[in-house]
């Protein structure tokens, strides 16, 4: 009996070691795990709003468990490592985006309530210089949230955009009007 328990413990120990070894060796896995753990813990704190030791313990274990499960998915997303400069730039980018969203809302609201409906819809193509998939996703989502533009499709470095008030059908000028204001921040964040 004792031997069985010992064997079982040894095997469990070995699997655990192997697991953490893999976590260490595979590039960026541990980093992703840490980010996920911190993020989940922050969400837990925001949801419970208490520093009670029992609540914290439950949150701690659930965060560790979820982070272990989601580490591989996080690594597949391909986020770059978080440096302070990147985080600062990202917060600044969030404010730029918020300002654009507010402008978007007033612009579209004006077009909707105006009796003549001054819309000039059309579908245009723009280019992007961003390389990674996650950066392109952020750009497409930001474009979806700006004044009267929204992303229909992406192939390679081309984005198909529906524009509620078309100002130009030239690909370079459209890129300058629609994409530039976000791309210059995303380029710094994801370089």
């Amino acid at each position: 009996m004792q031997i069985l328990v010992f064997l079982y413990c040894a095997q469990f120990d070995a699997t655990l070691k192997l697991f953490f070894w893999e976590l260490h060796m595979s590039n960026g896995r541990l980093r992703g795990f840490t980010y996920l753990f911190v993020l989940l813990m922050l969400i837990w704190l925001a949801l419970t709003l208490s520093l009670d030791s029992q609540e914290l313990a439950v949150g701690f274990f659930i965060s560790i468990l979820l982070a272990l499960f989601l580490t591989k998915e996080y690594a597949d997303l391909g986020f770059p490592p978080f440096t302070p400069a990147r985080i600062l730039y990202f917060i600044f980018y969030a404010f730029v985006l918020l300002w654009e969203i507010i402008k978007a809302n007033f612009d579209v609201a004006y077009r909707v309530v105006h009796p003549k409906m001054p819309i000039k819809p059309g579908v245009v193509v723009i280019k992007t210089g961003l390389k990674s998939d996650i950066a392109k996703m952020l750009l497409a989502n930001s474009i979806t949230l700006t004044p009267g533009t929204f992303t229909l499709d992406i192939i390679g470095d081309r984005l198909l955009i529906h524009w509620i008030n078309v100002k130009t059908d030239d690909i370079d000028q459209a890129t300058r009007i629609i994409g530039e204001k976000f791309e210059k921040y995303l380029k710094v964040i994801f370089k």
Partner: protein
């Protein structure tokens, strides 16, 4: 603080109303999606945040909800737009440009 929360919630409700008005008034699927996403984002954001300001104990929870809406809303509207684009839903007849054909050529070049 309570009054501030009520005002913020009220502005959010106005934006939600404008969004639904846009869905009624605008001519085709794509333009309706524009109104549906834009006004709803800020509308839902301000409404939930206003409730958070009214009840300070809920503030962080409502902020989480608002951030979740911000992150997921463009994705759902993009999915709807892409689906209608793929199934050849026609543009409004007064649309100015349509570069969908150029884009399809890009796709062929990319695949080749």
């Amino acid at each position: 603080m309570y009054i501030v929360g009520e005002i913020v919630t009220g502005i959010g409700a106005i934006f939600l109303f404008l969004g639904s008005l846009g869905i009624l008034r605008l001519p085709d699927v794509y333009n309706r999606l524009q109104a549906g996403t834009k006004c709803t984002t800020l509308g839902a954001f301000l409404t939930t945040l206003g409730v958070g300001i009214m009840e300070p104990a809920w503030f962080w929870k409502t902020l989480l909800i608002a951030l979740f809406i911000m992150a997921t809303n463009p994705i759902s509207s993009h999915a709807l737009g892409r689906a209608s684009c793929k199934s050849n839903v026609p543009l409004w007849d007064k649309s100015v440009v349509d570069k969908t054909k150029d884009f399809e050529e890009c796709r062929k070049v990319e695949e080749a």
